[in-house]
């Protein structure tokens, strides 16, 4: 499918006036990128475009392109900031492959995307024209050099006098261009301008009404410019969904899910890309009876959450990899004291400070095994924005009923990705209750472990006759410190047994595609949409490829080995590091596998392969399809 409209103009030439009836090109999937220097508002523009498309009934998925600094030097490839919006006639589950249409505020940020291979060959590029004829000779030279490099892409350029146009109605083009572009994109994509106006009013709802109105004027200017100057239109047919939909990013969904679960305390310390959960909650949580406690550090954040959980309702903490490392000792305490706790880890690239704003799935093993000593816990990973919402309700319930720690692993892709999904039907039963403060019967102990299940009912302060000291030291049922071998072995078994009991309540993961075949791809977390799209494309091409996606990583869902047996090849696809076969010194004996792959190999004794990458961006379905083809070309004997 060629998704490119024909050239509106020749390269480097000003856009020609549109004819009375522009040519309309219809696509069912379409990717737009808006990139600017950091701080010029490309994200607000792109997100608004995505929201408008979702409201019109398109499937949509947006991904932020974020530099690590607030204001890196402008007009450099490193300052590229913006958003990719993928829209479709059907639901969109991932960011896709290369972009079809790009709006760039300068040629340097465009170059950044070109160099990353983010742009489709022959893509349409709407580029600010002012730099070509800028008074500064260095800028003109940079433009010329960039244009030579960009010539490789065979792109169709439409030069847009963004600043010149914006200056006709505003004094500060830095703060107006983005809405001008929103109008431009809306006209080109046949968006309903009334919806665009309404979206702008929503975006600026907290500012004075004049702010929204002046932004609407800018948007209208952009739309009018497109009407006059752009000779093509792009139609991505949409239909109004038959059920109520909501749209938000994954971090907002985590925050709302937490409210739906009835948790009342979120203790956190600022860390990218997790912080926006607390931004969202700080705005709305108090009206719903909750507080966001910004602690003095990551350790204190989890400490406050444990203290709050110990004394009352389950609390939660939100962090990312480096914060998880700092919380390690407290996680062990929560597990040892069987204090219910929910921890959200919005994964980013690691190790150490790594790639703060970019996606990775590298915290899985640390989440499972990060504590010294045996520290069994539940680890779950939502795969979509919708699951970010619902998993918080589940996580709270699991933590409460198991008296344990639940780690929710999301990532930077889910955190900033925006997607419409069916509006949740809220249920008051999801809400945590205040703990029972009734007296404790004589025979009840703080850890009256059920011999079969390891489960016990917690006692909270305020309950008469329940007084005891909770301790991270080895303890017996009465919470009395003891180092007796039999007590310690039993207590370890009881804490572990709870996971086995919980595992029995889980269902095998569904298999996407066919029930058997030549290749099964196993994934977890945010890669689901890209993997399933690759499976769809592979099956359209007649390949016997399927996938399965794990929501629970600890304990693992049942039936995995039975599923694996039905495929001649099994491999994981993950965004974390693994050695590539064939690399120097890498042998089957010393190869380090992807994190889920390692777990599955250990758990099932199936010779599972992996394909993992750490590019700092979500995987593309096209890439995964190529991997599938390559894998199918190998001998399929591993799982025999």
């Amino acid at each position: 499918m060629n998704t490119n409209p024909p050239a509106a103009t020749g390269s480097g030439l000003p856009a020609s006036a549109a004819s009375a009836s522009p040519e309309v090109h219809t696509f069912h999937r379409h990717i737009v990128e808006v990139v600017s220097d950091s701080g010029e508002g490309a994200q607000k523009c792109g997100q608004s475009f995505g929201l408008v498309s979702a409201r019109m009934g398109n499937g949509a998925w947006t991904v932020e392109i974020i530099p690590a600094e607030i204001q890196p030097p402008p007009r450099t490839p490193g300052s590229a900031s913006g958003v990719r919006i993928r829209i479709g006639s059907e639901p969109v589950t991932n960011w896709g492959d290369e972009a079809d249409l790009i709006v760039a505020f300068n040629e340097q940020v465009l170059l950044a995307r070109h160099r990353l291979g983010a742009l489709k060959r022959g893509a349409t590029i709407l580029l600010e024209s002012m730099w070509e004829t800028h008074e500064d000779a260095d800028i003109r030279r940079a433009w010329d050099e960039a244009m030579r490099e960009l010539a490789d892409g065979d792109y169709h350029f439409v030069l847009v006098p963004m600043e010149e146009q914006t200056l006709t109605i505003t004094e500060n083009p830095q703060r107006g261009k983005n809405m001008f572009i929103l109008g431009l994109l809306s006209a080109i994509h046949l968006r309903d301008l009334d919806i665009v106006r309404d979206q702008i009013r929503k975006t600026f709802a907290k500012k004075a009404p004049e702010v929204a109105e002046s932004n609407i004027k800018l948007m209208e200017l952009g739309a009018a410019w497109a009407e006059q100057n752009v000779g093509f239109r792009i139609d991505v047919p949409c239909k109004k969904p038959d059920k109520a939909m909501v749209v938000m990013n994954g971090n907002q969904a985590i925050g709302m899910g937490a409210m739906a679960s009835g948790m009342d305390l979120c203790a956190m310390y600022p860390i990218t890309p997790a912080t926006s959960v607390s931004h969202y909650l700080s705005d709305v949580f108090e009206t719903s009876g909750g507080i966001v406690h910004q602690a003095e550090d990551e350790i204190a954040a989890i400490g406050v959450a444990i203290g709050a959980s110990y004394a009352g309702k389950v609390a939660f903490t939100v962090t990312s990899g480096p914060g998880m490392a700092l919380k390690t000792e407290f996680i062990g305490l929560a597990i040892m004291t069987e204090t219910p706790l929910v921890i959200v880890d919005v994964q980013r690239g690691g190790p150490s400070t790594g790639l703060p704003t970019k996606v990775e799935q590298s915290d899985l093993l640390a989440a499972l095994f990060g504590q010294p000593g045996d520290a069994p816990k539940v680890v779950m990973a939502p795969a979509t924005i919708e699951e970010c919402f619902h998993c918080m309700v589940s996580a709270r319930q699991i933590a409460e009923s198991l008296r344990g720690v639940v780690i929710v692993l999301t990532d930077a892709n889910l955190a900033t990705g925006v997607q419409p999904f069916p509006r949740p039907e809220l249920d008051p039963h999801w809400q945590a209750h205040l703990p029972d403060l009734g007296p404790i019967p004589k025979d009840r102990k703080p850890f009256s472990w059920d011999e079969q299940t390891g489960l016990s009912k917690r006692i909270v302060p305020g309950q008469p006759d329940g007084m005891h000291t909770t301790t991270g030291l080895a303890h017996d049922e009465a919470s009395t410190v003891t180092y007796a071998p039999d007590v310690n072995m039993r207590a370890n078994a009881m804490r572990s047994r709870k996971l086995a009991v919980f595992q029995q309540t889980l269902r095998p993961p569904p298999v996407y595609g066919g029930d058997e075949g030549d290749l099964l791809v196993v994934g977890w977390g945010s890669t689901k949409g890209a993997i399933e799209e690759a499976v769809d494309r592979a099956r359209e091409q007649g390949l016997a490829v399927s996938s399965t996606h794990l929501t629970f990583l600890s304990p693992m869902q049942p039936g995995l080995k039975d599923i694996f047996r039905r495929f001649s090849r099994v491999m994981t696809v993950e965004i974390n590091y693994s050695d590539q076969p064939g690399d120097p010194f890498i042998t089957p004996e010393n190869r380090r596998y992807g994190q889920l792959c390692l777990l599955l190999r250990a758990q099932t004794l199936v010779d599972i392969d992996c394909w993992t990458r750490v590019p700092g961006e979500p995987l593309r379905p096209g890439q995964i399809l190529e991997v599938m083809r390559a894998k199918l070309a190998t001998d399929g004997k591993e799982t025999a």
């Binding site: 909501v246 749209v247 009342d264 509006r423 309950q463 000291t469």
Partner: protein, 314 residues
Amino acid sequence: MSCSLLSCATEPDRLFEMSDYQGPRARWCPGCGDHGILTANQRLLADEQLKPETTVYVSGIGCSSRFPHYMKTYGFHGIHGRALPLATGVKLSRPDLDVFVVMGDGDCCSIGAGHWIHAIRYNVDMTVMLLDNNIYGLTKNQTSPTTPQGYASNTQPDGSYLPALNPLVTTLGVANASFVAQTADWVPGHLFATLKAAHRHQGFAFVRILQRCPIWTPDIFQEAVMDPAKTELLVHDDGIRDPDTEEAYTTHTWHDPADIHDGRRLASEPGTVRLGLFFRNEAQPRYDVTRRIPLQTAEEKIAHLERELDRHAV
């Protein structure tokens, strides 16, 4: 809370004796100052008639942090240096509970120093005891931040290299400090009076208790213990008063606890052991009060969330 009112109405009057707060026999060394501090706490709870079930002792790690195990209240024996975040969480989630924190000098002033600074500033209502024996005891004789300069230990056998950290001066230097006192395990009347004043204080009441360790630092406080003239009492009508102590310890300094500058001066002068209230200001903002949110029913919360979903509807 309405449920506690209900239980008050139906249960017979309960009168608590000291023994009602006594847990299993303490396993500290004979002669350890912690024993006396434990007794003072049990006496305080009986004196204040606190319900054992609504009283929580939170501690970190170290000799002194075993404290909650020897009480018959609720207790949370946490991890090294982190008692204050736990206690903050308890109080934020359950303002109805009476929260006490017990830390040692390694716990509070070294590994937990960051939390200490911020907890002072949060000024959450709790009674905070620093049991300061100037040494790491449980791990067997390592230099702590409060070990006097020159004092030998297993990690600094030629003597502590640096001047000791002064916990009173540190606390008094933090914005929003609201109650700073010092007492000693060997002056039981003063210890009790100080704990009582601390407990009644609405806010973060920080009490440094000089505490003897008979094993590793037996001589550190010996001069002050043997000769009352070496100890100076801070006295004031608004301060901590204990007539018996004032009779035995006759060196008195009149100090108004509202005067933080004088409090800092008195806390920082080396040499003299000063016991008493250095500073108190109940008007300082309390984080637990500022952040208190009225409870909501599940239905109210769901209604609120429906409105939130409306905002995100497409």
